[in-house]
Amino acid sequence: MGSTSGHPNGGLGRRDLIKRSAALGLVTLPAMGFLSACASGDGGAGGSKVEKGKVTKANPLGVNETAPLEVVIFDGGFGQQYAIDAEKKYNAAFPKAPKVTHKATQKIQSELQPRFNGGTPPDLIDNSGAEQMDMGVLVGKKQLADLTPLLDAPSIDDPAKKVRDTLRPGIVEMGQFDGAPVWILYYAYTVYGVWYSRTALDRLDAQYPETWDEMLALCEKAKKQGIAGWTYAGKHPYYLPFSLYPFIAKIGGREVLESIDNLEPNAWKHPAVKAAFEAYYELQRKGYILKGTPGLDHIQSQTAWTKGRALFIPNGSWVENEAASTMPKDFDLAVSAPSGLDASDKMPFGTLWASGGEPFIVPAKAKNVEGGMEQLRIMLSEESSKNFTRQVKSLTAFDGGTDGIELTPGLRSGVAALEKAGENVVNPRLQDWYVKLQKEQIGVAGLGEMMAGRLTPAEAISRIQGFADRAAQDSSVKKYKHQ
């Protein structure tokens, strides 16, 4: 007898074999395999650096004039043209070097994670967007170059001034994590707050409310006309902090936010947090939030808002570019600092969250570290900064640079809000220090549930405090503190 049919006791028959291998094949389909694509590389091989060039007045960072430069840009709300324009300037400054290799992508992490892992990252990266690489981990694993030489280099416009002296307040500190080195340079400058249409408020014969009582009164008035007071990105409730955190700071002082950032025990139990949560919860309870908001994503909520179905939305200054296609011509976009609670607030009306956006990094293992920094120095010149502002309606880290540009309504009101805030700019760090805690735990599981009416403020606070405590105890999360 041959062995072609499956005998009960005849060992392994052909059919059995095929059946079993088919079964094995089936069960090996699932997702684990994809991780192998980024399995640990052979670390360091091929990552040889180019030699440093001669330091001269025109070349203060000592860029190797014949070395190639590779730049990767996040192709999001700001596009990539501004970077291409700046790269042309690099080509002009170093004519002997090959043309700058430019790449734009929305998938920063999936494209660059394997290159970091293999020790061959590009020379300059705009680490932004939904697929941003975790900066805390990059710093913790010593993957980033210290940008201090760049900050101490003379600026392009005025050789008597250092680059660091041309930047907006807070930018340098934001790029630090623990002590002196500066790991990140935030190129854009974002104004967060309550965004609204001046036209819509005019129609209600109203001004932007400075206290919470006025806010509630205005929402009531709007409700009678069938307009909701507020909407927000219900599926991404971590947009709520854009107005909620400065509101907390205004009520209780900036120390409250700092103790929250430092993950201090019971930081969230501060009365100011409770007062702010209760105020927002009241919007929900009184029906001032656009119906269905918890089921909307950021684009959908912005569209409902530009259609005039809600008055206010917590957002950042990118909204002017992002919502441009649905925004009516006469919308007259404006941003305001959050309304205060009452006269006993610790900080004045105007207290605002503004901070750097679009984090640029130079990898420690990049071949041409000096080139990456030089490219940033070019981008931080007045001319490049103006070019950016003109193209994408957003400020840059370069202080000033708005003269002679025709400002759009949103940008103009952002500049005005910054002026009004003066010293009272707060800069909560949860969203760049502890991404998961801020977005998923505080945002979605805490604030999102409360604003959907499924948690009371007290429940939300104790839940969030629990998340913060867990993060504080988690030894796998690197901790940072306000200096």
């Binding site: 062995s3 005849g10 060992g11 392994l12 074999l17 079964a23 089936l26 069960v27 090996t28 389909l29 699932p30 997702a31 684990m32 395999g33 991780l35 192998s36 980024c38 399995a39 640990s40 052979d42 670390g43 992490q109 999936s110 994670q113 970091f116 892992n117 020790g119 697929e131 975790d134 805390g136 981990v137 990059l138 694993k141 993957q143 219900g234 599926k235 991404h236 409730p237 119906k291 269905g292 908001t293 918890p294 089921g295 909307l296 994503d297 959908q300 409902a304 179905r309 991404v435 998961k436 977005k439 998923e440 945002g443 979605v444 599981a445 999102g448 549930e449 959907a452 499924r454 796998s476």
Partner: protein, 307 residues
């Protein structure tokens, strides 16, 4: 005459086995190895940490929640999808009233239905998820607008924004998009059942229900079993990832209501910079998938009917 059998088999299978080991088994071994390290995925440096990741897994509420959801997907989705597909396929192929000339036929318009059911299959799952995301929009989406149009303006669920509904919404989309494939698969299976069986049943006066349970179902057993495993793995793996990732953006629905294991693997590896922990979750997923496949294979074992 059995001697030399294994040498024969090995000789034939050596090359495919080598490829299989290199591209399928080796990554698994590697993944399991990494689950014992503190590898971040962002730098090639890591050290062994023993069972730390597994201890963390045991203590992770989100992991248990996503495991629950994944199990629900793997158990419920095949039942619903395959049940529906069997019903549709039966109606299309043999469920019609007897007509002159043909003893066994589908319901009227069955060729149209066949195309209609298969249609979602030609769309990429990403597009399907996007389309449904718009439909579920509580403010201006098709479903709530439809409810308003028929006078149910008071019933305006939040759908994906409601932790009690979100998971079901996602499952419904998966059923919608996969049922067509199984209709076609089972149609093919039914076509190979000899017509005389049905004719004989018909002569005996069997009803449609009896025909289905006494003839169609038993003879389709093998096809259903393969379909079951296939659907279960889809529900545990790629498809559930795509719909959850696209439709319930954020960390997987309000209050973790739609997080599934694959999504959690992805988020740990590519958002939290915790690749080693991600491989640990991947190992858990592997165990679940193996257990599922083994259970289905074992339950389905029985004598085979030759015809």
């Amino acid at each position: 005459m059995q001697h030399g059998k294994y040498r024969f088999i090995v000789g034939f299978l050596a090359a495919p086995l080598a490829l299989y080991t290199l591209f399928v088994v080796w990554p698994f071994v590697q993944s399991i190895y990494y689950s014992f390290t503190d590898w971040t995925g962002l730098s090639p440096e890591f050290s062994m940490v023993g069972l730390d990741n597994y201890a963390r897994l045991m203590d992770d509420d989100v992991f248990w929640k996503s495991l629950q959801h994944s199990l629900l997907f793997a158990l419920l989705l095949p039942v619903v999808t395959i049940g529906l597909a069997l019903f549709f396929a039966f109606m299309i192929n043999v469920g019609g009233r007897p007509r002159r000339g043909a003893a066994v036929s589908g319901v009227r318009g069955s060729s149209f239905y066949k195309v209609a059911y298969f249609f979602p299959q030609v769309l990429s799952i990403a597009i399907v998820a996007l389309l449904f995301q718009f439909a579920y929009n509580p403010e201006s989406g098709a479903i709530n607008s439809g409810l308003r149009a028929i006078g149910l303006g008071d019933v305006q669920p939040l759908w994906l924004g409601d932790p009690d509904l979100a998971l079901w919404c996602v499952m419904a989309v998966l059923v919608w998009s996969t049922v067509g494939f199984f209709v076609v698969l089972f149609s093919a299976g039914m076509a190979s059942i000899p017509r005389d069986f049905y004719e004989a049943a018909l002569l005996d006066g069997a009803s449609r229900v009896t025909t289905f349970f006494r003839i169609t179902l038993p003879l389709l057993r093998d096809t259903i079993q393969s379909g079951w495993v296939y659907m279960g793995i889809l529900a545990l793996g790629a498809e559930s990832f795509a719909v959850v990732q696209i439709m319930t953006t954020g960390p997987g629905g309000p209050d973790y209501s739609t997080t599934v294991l694959v999504l959690y693997v992805y988020q740990s590896a590519f958002r939290d910079g915790a690749a080693a922990y991600a491989t640990t979750i991947g190992v858990a997923l592997l165990i679940v998938t193996l257990a599922f496949a083994a259970a289905v294979m074992r339950l389905g074992r029985r004598e085979r009917l030759e015809y």
